[in-house]
Symmetry: D2
Subunit: 380 residues, 4 copies
């Protein structure tokens, strides 16, 4: 004889079905098999810009229903969590509508296309008391979490140096690349698109940024659309930044570029402490290099730590050391945190408030580049 | 207004809920969101050795029903595919029962604990016309598939050298490690447990093995159980092998060990062709190193290829180049192939027949070590 | 019967016998066996601060004579080239005396402790028509030279990004480390000591620096001497720099530190072109990574070029590809260039004039850090 | 006033001025500046096959005299040490003549082209009481020496696994490559040419080899000479070997090839102990990877040790950690040992007796390949 199993569920409404839409859908599908959860996500409705597109995506990604009108999704009583994976400019209206409807909101980064929007979204969510989370998935990597713990515990002494990069080449070909991403009112360039990950990771590791001095460059001032037409680019292709942190007495270097030929996932950092050091690159996301002082001179060096169940929550994916996590697994960890937060089990790790602080650093970076001055990042 | 979505499904019955049981369950959950499938898996029944264990696992992994009697699962009309992830000795009776019930069978490696069982399982499945697949998941890696294509196409010329290893340290501590895995009637040592992956990968890349000369060693002849009792070990801890392939005129070296201190996932190969070379290690599963002759002397070297949508089916997981797949994703690809085979869309890639050939090589390795002679691998 | 061999020689006078003194001596001993030279160096006189020290060093390093008075060495008629490897503050008086005596001068970096001295030395040498060279040995690496050629030839397109570092940890322990190197009138901190290498390499690869914005930090504001006494540090431990080049339209990041725990030789750069990229680290000085656009998507990646006779003048050291050069070999190449310049065969590659330009960049970096402003680097 | 310096010297007679001839000459020139020596080498006579060639080489490499008759060099009273870098077949007659003249002998590997010659040379040298040394320079690497110490001290427990390779591609193009190296009476193929390094290193690390089972393959059975004529190849291009050591209870794998496309210096080993592991490749000769058990699960991994003064005699070359040694520096260390042995300061590290034992292993490898049997290596 076989017996039945039952579970509590949370209805998911996903808006957008591109790169990140699929990543969200997969994470929601998978998370309940990886982690014990207080409630299991239920793929309730998928919204996209046309009924056809939404129908196909709902079928492919496993949603029960679909719609071409995101406003319906936001209001649907079976939806508990609204996941937003649309172009940047739509984040604000969608999130605000979802918050107004009392839904929890899971939004891709960058939070918004203006600091004002980001602040409005944050304040609305906090007033409404809904759970929010922004998709800074790279912070969810167990190896990055270990880096943070090593820094915070003083294991490598006082932090005395930091370099961070996020370089990638996906915008490296101006021919045929023109899209909404190059218009300043729609998006924010390399700084917003991938630099936001770099800044959020720097803040995650070292705390708040106090001041910045930066140079933003538009390497390709014109780009052509697929029809061959030339367009003037209004955003940055890369940003070079000096940064000082509130709690550390040194100047750090940060660099981000989306025209870095040959690089695919060059999110990396190099942390120096008075008693050790750490190196990480997302290109090898299952590794973290650690140096510790105090070893014999002929037995010391950087030790390559490799992902295993010794680095929670890796073991929830597989008990096999060295078997490795992939990008989608980081999204699963992110979604686990979201559901835990919605169920009241744990705080959300990168709520809108946190993403707002990252946005404030980006604003200071832009101001600094424009004025050619050091800029303080406001405390609030 | 929102619309509903419907799908055809295949009922999955999973026996065993340990390391590989969870990997199977996750793959079945996820696969339909990653790939377009002719039918979506439905997590129907989970069987384990006790009702409690089965109930908990069914709840955690997302199965609709559970049972402590695998014989019921095998006969259940809602089950289309039986997935076997139990200790090695049980593979044969479970698979034979499933085949007898007309079910398709997805079995973990090694196929069986004796060559006779492996042969019987293969022949029964072929007579019954059911689809079978054995879990040689490392072959499903897009980078490994690329290596195979490069070899097969002649892109690196005639193959003139091969070294392969699978070394790991998970059995490296004799204290407290005694289990069924060290009894020859239950299991087959490092050779069967992980060497089977090495041999299947060598065959995948280079074709059939013609003859072998090998030394099997039991590095730790006694091990203690958790109660401190000492037990005599009856199996190999490592195997060093010379191998000749049917289609290649050179002697290869293969080495496998599960007592290799410090290594976690050391499945690697080094292929030399007359016009190029390839290097791979599962420790960095998203990378493949390629050397091609014919470049200028000051512009040549090994090129590090990194996983991206250019290596199908990577793009089904994410359009982001360099974002990386993890171990569980390889299982998703494996399960996709299984479902395609069950639906008649594609042939199974490592059916029982293929696993039987790997078992025949292992048998020749054992014979060679015992007799200290080169042994031919029988053609059939 | 055996026959005799004769050669033309150049007398070498070496001042200082520490780290760099020995490196100079070894290079002069070895160079004639590696390269065909118009004249062979002859180790004529070694000067150090005491007769005992000079005698011992002369014996160990193979000089024919020794002296405790460098002024005698400078005036000795058998000396053709004066090599200066003393503490930074002595470079200027020694070089000026040597120039006044009509000697060619080979001086370690940094050229001087003030911009005025550096300028005076440069102008004196140019007026006197003697050959000068400054020890920026890392530029002599065949792999770095290849990087420069790849950049200059347009092989990787327009240069659109650059990050450079020189981080090392040799000053990372404040206890017992106090020396002349921490007094601003004697030395120039990490920026002068190793940052000068970073700036000279950046200029070597990309041309002149137009403007900089920088933050210099003294990580350890006090250090103790070997007797336990505490001293106030007057120089920088690290420098974070944004830089713009005259011929390139982007902002680069540079970072140098001599308190970078765990790093030994972290001189590295990362160059992005519109059609390719380069990566190098002195930690693996025999390697250079090159990415070229225009390959098939599934056959591209960074290619690891490795030192061989295909990268002149490597072949002068050994015809064996992959055999590798060491640090002292870079000094041999430097000295070859010096002798070629003295013999009129080739121009000196980093004469005082070039080192002066590096010093001008360092001065702008210091000014920028003090004023918290972007600073232009004067054209002359 | 300057003072004079004087020294005791040893006259060097070098036969051959190719690849290794130049390496010897450079080492003899340099060694006295690197190490304090009881006597300094004096480049006395160079012999080569013609007077022209000898004259040019003597001039380029810095010898005082030259000759076209090596017999004169061997008998010259100013010669204390005869260095032999000629084709393999000439090693025996030259060494025997030098020994008969009472000279110390420094001979390149392989010692001879037959085991009988090797034995005769060894016995003649021991009877004559002269110092001998064979050029197994890779053993002189401080990092390899550290590996040996770690193994010998028990720091990584009992040794339970070993894989070694020496693969390179310098014979990978059959067209135009025909030379004396492919005739069995003149040379010994890949096994003798580079496999001798692999075997000597395996013996250096693990002690004597007890038995072997091997397959030798001639990948390219014909090669053409530069005039286009085709020649039948009589030697091996690669060798795959199983080996058991006298003092260790496991089967090791060894592989050597000189047709390994794309590899330049692939001499590497992988040692597993019950409490740790070591990895080394000559491709990065300044690095050694070490794993030690007994660390916390989330702080362990392979540590990359990098060459520095903590690994003697590195510091004699430079006090700068991480500055790196090159191939020629290994020869300098070798020659230091030779001179120390000649001066009675230290025993020679790889005398003829040691090279004879390596030759005996190679003989057993050849016998095993021919008979397809395991072969014992004779104890004497």
């Amino acid at each position: 004889m076989t017996k039945n199993v039952s579970r509590r569920t949370l209805g998911i409404g996903l808006i957008g079905s591109g790169f990140m839409g699929k990543a969200h859908a997969l994470a929601f599908r998978t998370v309940g098999g990886v982690f014990p959860l207080a409630a299991e996500p239920r793929l309730e409705i998928l919204a996209d810009i046309s009924a056809d597109k939404a129908a196909r995506a709902a079928y492919e990604l496993g949603f029960a229903r679909f719609t071409a009108q995101w406003e319906r999704l936001v209001l649907d009583p079976a939806v508990d969590i609204v996941a937003i994976t649309t172009p940047n400019r739509q984040h604000a209206p969608m999130a605000l509508a979802a918050i107004a409807a009392g839904k929890h909101v899971y939004c891709e980064k960058p939070l918004a296309t203006s600091l004002e929007d980001a602040r409005a979204m944050t304040e609305a969510a906090e007033r409404a008391g809904v759970v929010t989370q922004v998709g800074f998935n790279y912070l969810r990597n167990p190896m990055v979490h270990t880096a943070k713990e090593i820094i915070a515990s003083g294991e490598i002494g006082d932090i005395i140096g930091f370099s961070g990069q996020y370089i990638a080449g996906f915008m490296g070909t101006p021919e045929g690349s023109w899209s909404w991403r190059f218009q300043p009112e729609e998006a924010g360039g390399a700084l917003a698109d991938i630099g936001s990950h770099l800044i959020s990771m720097s803040r995650y590791l070292l705390g708040e940024v106090a001041s910045v001095c930066a140079g933003l460059d538009t390497v390709y001032p014109t780009r052509t659309s697929s029809d061959g037409q030339s367009h003037r680019v209004g955003i940055d292709d890369q940003a070079a930044i000096l940064a000082r942190f509130q709690d550390h007495p040194f100047t750090a270097t940060l660099f981000t570029s989306w025209v870095a030929t040959g690089r695919e996932m060059g999110l990396s950092f190099d942390v120096t402490g008075s008693k050790g050091a750490l190196r990480f690159t997302q290109e090898r996301l299952n590794e973290l290099e650690l140096f510790k002082s105090g070893q014999a001179a002929n037995r010391r060096g950087f030790t390559r730590l490799t992902a295993s169940p010794a680095y929670p929550p890796y073991g929830a994916f597989t008990p096999g050391a060295g078997h490795q996590l992939g990008f989608n697994d980081l999204k699963v960890i992110e979604v686990r945190n979201l559901i835990d937060a919605v169920c009241g089990v744990a705080p959300a790790e990168t709520p809108f408030r946190d993403a707002l602080r990252t946005a404030m650093v980006m604003e200071a970076v832009r101001d600094s580049s424009r004025t050619r001055q050091w800029m303080d990042v406001p405390a609030q």
